[in-house]
């Protein structure tokens, strides 16, 4: 018979709402990085739940594998892929959102009421007896006796996944990489001669030189080619108007 102590109940009632709120936040935040951080938090709370439920080994594995390796991989890919328009929350298929929310309320309601009504025919046993020799020892015994064949299959799956990732990430050029000479010729032969010297550098001359401020063209308009497209997509671009010189002061004061 399982007795749940007060500390576990307190832990549950604090962390369970927090994890559900973080999951809702994952759907509502705009940037993918914030979603990743919220997911990392959910995984940490789940690890605490596992440890509280006498699954010490799985709790540690959850932190090492999920919040450590998997979330790090997600952040790496976010870094590679960068930001683009798909981060926005506007719905592209009309009517999808209300349908999804209605279906989710129905599905979740059925799920929760099902759990509420179902009975196992016995009260919860708890893992005192199963973990008598320690959780890791118990799991290892099961893994290497009853489940040794699935364990071997899983190892084959891991190797296949590693190979598959290598094949998918491998990138073969269909045309040869242009040499420096070819690039230089192309710069002069195509487009305007103005672009031959390279793109303008960011910053407004003499007033500001940060990379997020477009340079001013001779006619006073900001040059969009002078800043990185990523900064533009992220919306981290400053207005160059405020750094413009209003009036050039020509008076020379002599200092002696």
């Amino acid at each position: 018979m399982l007795e749940i102590q007060t500390p576990e109940a307190v832990m549950f009632w604090v962390l369970a709402p927090l994890s559900v709120i973080a999951a809702l936040g994952m759907l509502l935040v705009k940037k993918a990085v914030h979603s990743a951080l919220l997911l990392a938090w959910i995984m940490v709370t789940l690890a605490i739940f596992y440890i509280a439920q006498d699954a010490v080994f799985l709790g540690i594995v959850q932190i090492v594998v999920y919040t450590g390796a998997v979330m790090m991989l997600f952040l790496f890919i976010l870094m590679l892929v960068g930001v683009d328009a798909s981060d926005s929350l506007t719905e592209t298929i009309s009517g999808l959102r209300p349908i999804a929310i209605t279906a989710a309320i129905g599905f979740g309601g059925i799920f929760v009421s099902l759990i509420g009504r179902a009975t196992l025919g016995h009260s919860a046993y708890g893992l005192k007896a199963a973990n008598a020799n320690g959780n890791v020892e118990g799991l290892a015994y099961k893994l290497f006796s009853d489940y040794v064949f699935p364990f071997e299959v899983i190892s084959a799956l891991l190797i296949t996944a590693a190979l598959g990732a290598m094949v998918l990430a491998h990138h073969q050029r269909s045309v040869a990489r242009p040499t420096q000479r070819e690039q230089s010729i192309a710069r002069f032969r195509t487009g305007t001669i103005g672009a031959a010297a390279g793109l303008p550098s960011p910053g407004v001359f003499a007033r500001h030189n940060a990379v997020d401020v477009p340079a001013l063209l001779p006619d006073g308009t900001p040059a969009p080619t002078s800043i990185s497209a990523t900064l533009k997509a992220r919306g981290d671009m400053l207005e160059s108007k405020s750094f413009e010189l209003g009036e050039v002061d020509n008076t020379v004061t002599e200092e002696k």
Binding site: F12, V20, Q53, A55, Q62, Y66, G108, I115, L139, A161
Partner: protein, 99 residues
């Protein structure tokens, strides 16, 4: 409190993950929502292991974690491959077969 409460949390997390898969457009966020659903299933397995007093559920949850790790590796490689050819990580843009 009884251990069944963990099952309610798992059900809610699973449902929220499913909504995320349908609603979000960024392929990486969609993928993270799939991970959330897998984690919710794992919590159910661990909770049932505790309720039934055997370690079988934990063994299966362990296998699920390994499968999830494999899935992340291959899935992210696919996302990077698509991003390379289409310059977009939006799931709505990858509809070549439609046209």
């Amino acid at each position: 409190m009884n251990p069944y409460n963990y099952l309610y949390v798992a059900a809610l997390l699973f449902t929220i993950g499913a909504v995320g898969v349908v609603v979000r457009r960024n392929a990486i966020v969609v993928f993270m929502c799939v991970e959330l659903m897998l984690n919710a299933a794992n919590l159910t397995l661990v909770t049932f292991a505790r309720i039934n007093g055997t370690l079988e559920g934990q063994v299966v949850a362990f296998f699920t974690m390994v499968v999830a790790a494999c899935e992340v590796v291959v899935g992210l490689a696919i996302i990077v491959a698509i991003y390379r050819s289409r310059r977009s990580a939006s799931v709505d843009d990858a509809s070549l077969l439609k046209r």
